[in-house]
């Protein structure tokens, strides 16, 4: 359909007004979002408040404590099969703390080789967020080979770990500080709570297609390696 492309562009070029320059608009957007950066403690508070408002379960823990705490909660929830990346430091720490009732499961093969098993038998998925956004209670997830996209999407419980020192005040700050404009991964997902819908008579219901429950562990101090 090369001719369609040329005709569409031809019509637009014939009608286009004078092109405008990015720089002026960039400055304007920057000025709109410029504010004194809040203190780290205020960021964590705002982040937690917004996530709780979106019906996520949120708690804070230290680097030393979180694996055992989380493992115990997972067991108490009744989850039996947990997706995690054993090659990641956090995945390995959680794996070591899991009781025998919870079976750890790496994302072992391309999705299409085990779609039904993933859809029908996995109770929870564990991810480590790249960062967080305080204003809206949002996790920035960058899926990778160890933790693909479906880990935070298909199981009914999504558990995300985020380090307090990665929190940004706003989405704009995250885009600027992490230089998203310089290049993006094939998929980047911003998650703000469990899956929900109000498509039936404006009544809110959770677990529409994605996770029904979302847990967020905020690691307040990284500890000494």
């Amino acid at each position: 359909m090369m001719h369609a492309r040329e005709r569409m562009l031809g019509r637009l070029r014939a009608a286009a007004p004078a092109p405008s320059d990015d720089a002026a608009l960039d400055r304007r957007i920057g000025a709109h979002y410029s504010a004194a950066p809040p203190q780290s403690a205020a960021l964590v508070d705002a982040f937690e408040r917004a996530l709780v408002a979106s019906r996520a379960d949120v708690w804070r823990a230290t680097a030393a404590d979180w694996p055992a705490q989380l493992a115990q909660r997972i067991a108490a929830h009744g989850a039996r099969r947990l997706l995690l990346d054993p090659a990641g430091a956090e995945g390995a720490a959680l794996l070591a703390a899991l009781p025998p009732t919870v079976a750890p499961l790496p994302f072992r093969a391309p999705l299409e080789q085990w779609t039904d098993e993933l859809f029908d038998t996995v109770d929870a998925g564990f991810t480590v967020a790249r960062s967080g956004i305080a204003a809206t209670g949002t996790l920035v997830l960058a899926p990778d080979p160890g933790t693909p996209r479906t880990v935070s999407l298909v199981p009914p419980l999504h558990i995300a770990l985020v380090y307090a020192d990665t929190l940004h005040a706003t989405l704009f700050d995250a885009v600027q500080a992490e230089r998203w404009g310089d290049g993006m991964p094939s998929n980047l997902v911003l998650v703000s709570g469990p899956s929900k819908t109000s498509d039936i008579q404006q009544t809110l219901a959770y677990g529409a297609h994605g996770p029904r429950w979302m847990w967020v562990v905020i690691v307040t101090e990284r500890g000494t390696p």
Binding site: R5, M8, A205
Partner: protein, 481 residues
């Protein structure tokens, strides 16, 4: 579920359908409740009027900047996506877009398509087109799923099943999903839908989605949703096809930040939706999920007609939040189906003439009191009332008149008789002698005024000149005319 042929309703029958909708108390209650809810929700998101106005300025600036550079941005988006391994297709018409998508499906022997929400796919009536070629489309957005099951079209661009009660939906699920007992509990209904659709995600050959925003600098498609069906549709099947109105691209990823904030706050009164899904290419080597193929279909379908005219170009600033319909006194009373167009409400009135021509849509622009609510809530400051007036003018323009950017269907409402009446009217008011004669005749012959005055007397008492004119009364009081 078997794909059903959709009953396309010609927008030309607007008046009849609006009348029927007004007489349906159940429908009216559904819409009234929904409008009140959505207006209140939006209100909670903008407690600071100054911040709202500044953000609207910014949203308008971002969209105008993008439109000013549109041809270059589309080429840049294409290059970026191609470099990431995606394929970009250009479609001038709905037919071309359908043929491109059917071609992709046919080349892979695909029989099953799972769909995330896409108004552009509604606009081209893709489900119907593919069904006729043996490809089954299943809508996975809960609202769209319900509407498809009922064999209807969405009645709202953000909340497609807004016209249905939970009792309606309970009956629908009982009838169409095997082994489902009747329930009108919303949580139960959603879990039923989730179970029914999970299988469809796992079995689909192709996932099809819309696009909320695209960034030219990074080649990113930005999808906004709450349910997760959009993520599943764009992640699980081996092929992902995204379809997008060509006006949706902006220069930079960072420019989407204010737009996304305006969109979710204006649409459903949320600071952010559950998911922002940013897609910048197909599955890369080493990755274990995500589609191996990514296609983007860029759709014109009449948009370049709006683009060609400096005033009408602002129509393309729209980010499809639906706030204009949520605040429209006409939409709130007649609902979305009465319009007969894919996009109902104020935005539908100003975009549909470009997609469908004025012959079919000329009545839509007149179904407005020009109260201005739509323009006031529009997050990107589209001057909707001014555009309605402009479209009325174009619909009444002499079809033979040569203008710089003629609209398809120019003069659809043109009437020689009406034009003559107005010419007489302006002549009488421009010439004092003629006006005095007209005034004398009107006041003396008032008894002859007909009781039936075309459309006017359908809902109003007849117009009749006063016995004495204002000039007569003034003269009696000793004041000059």
């Amino acid at each position: 579920m078997k794909a059903r042929s959709l009953q396309f309703v010609p927008p030309a029958d607007f008046h009849a359908r609006a009348g029927a909708a007004l007489a349906d108390p159940k429908l009216r209650a559904s819409f009234r409740g929904a409008m009140d809810f959505l207006q209140a929700r939006r209100g909670t998101q903008f407690p600071d009027a100054l911040e709202l106005e500044r953000l609207r300025d910014l949203g308008e600036a971002v969209r105008q900047h993008a439109l000013a550079n549109l041809p270059q941005l589309l080429v840049q988006l294409e290059e970026k996506l191609q470099a990431a391994g995606a394929q970009v297709h250009w479609a001038e018409t709905a037919e071309e877009a359908n043929a491109i998508i059917a071609g992709i499906a046919a080349a892979r022997g695909a029989r099953k398509v799972i769909k995330g929400k896409s108004m552009a796919s509604e606009e081209i009536e893709l489900n119907h087109y593919l069904a006729a070629r043996g490809v089954d489309c299943v809508e996975s957005d809960m609202g769209e799923y319900i509407v498809q099951m009922a064999g209807e079209k969405p009645s709202h661009i953000v909340m497609p099943a807004i016209h249905k009660t939970r009792e309606d939906i309970g009956a629908l699920f009982e009838q169409h999903i095997p082994g489902t007992p009747y329930s009108d509990d919303v949580d139960t209904l959603i879990q039923t839908g989730r179970r029914a659709l999970r299988k469809a995600f796992a079995e689909a050959d192709i996932g099809l989605s819309g696009v909320n925003f695209a960034a030219a600098d990074t080649g990113t498609l930005w999808l906004v949703e709450n349910e997760g069906n959009g993520r599943l549709s764009t992640t699980v099947p081996d092929v992902h096809i995204a379809i997008m109105g060509m006006e949706k691209v902006v220069a930079r990823l960072a420019h989407i930040v204010p737009l996304a904030s305006l969109l979710t706050r204006s649409a459903t009164g949320q600071a952010i939706t559950t998911y922002f899904n940013l897609i910048s290419g197909p599955r890369r080597p080493g990755e274990l999920d995500g589609p191996r193929e990514l296609h983007l279909v860029l759709l014109d379908n009449g948009r370049s007609q709006a683009y060609a005219d400096e005033q009408l170009r602002s129509t393309l600033q729209c980010i499809r939040c639906g706030a204009c319909m949520n605040h429209c006194p006409v939409y709130g009373r007649i609902g979305g189906h009465a319009y007969g167009t894919t996009y109902p409400g104020p935005i539908g009135k100003i975009i549909s003439p470009h997609l469908l021509g004025l012959e079919a849509t000329a009545d839509l622009a007149t179904a407005s009191s020009l109260c201005g609510a739509c323009g006031e809530v529009c997050p990107v400051r589209i001057p909707i009332p001014a555009l309605l007036v402009r479209l009325r003018t174009e619909a009444n323009r002499d079809p033979r008149e040569q203008v710089a950017h003629p609209l398809k269907g120019q003069g659809a409402k043109f009437s020689r008789g009406e034009k003559l009446v107005w010419r007489f009217w302006s002549g009488a008011f421009a010439h004092p002698a003629a006006y005095r004669t007209f005034r004398l005749a009107a006041t003396r012959l008032r008894a002859l005024t007909p009781g039936e005055q075309l459309g006017w007397t359908r809902h109003r008492t007849p117009l009749r000149p006063a016995a004495r004119s204002l000039a007569d009364l003034l003269r009696e009081r000793g004041q000059p005319e």
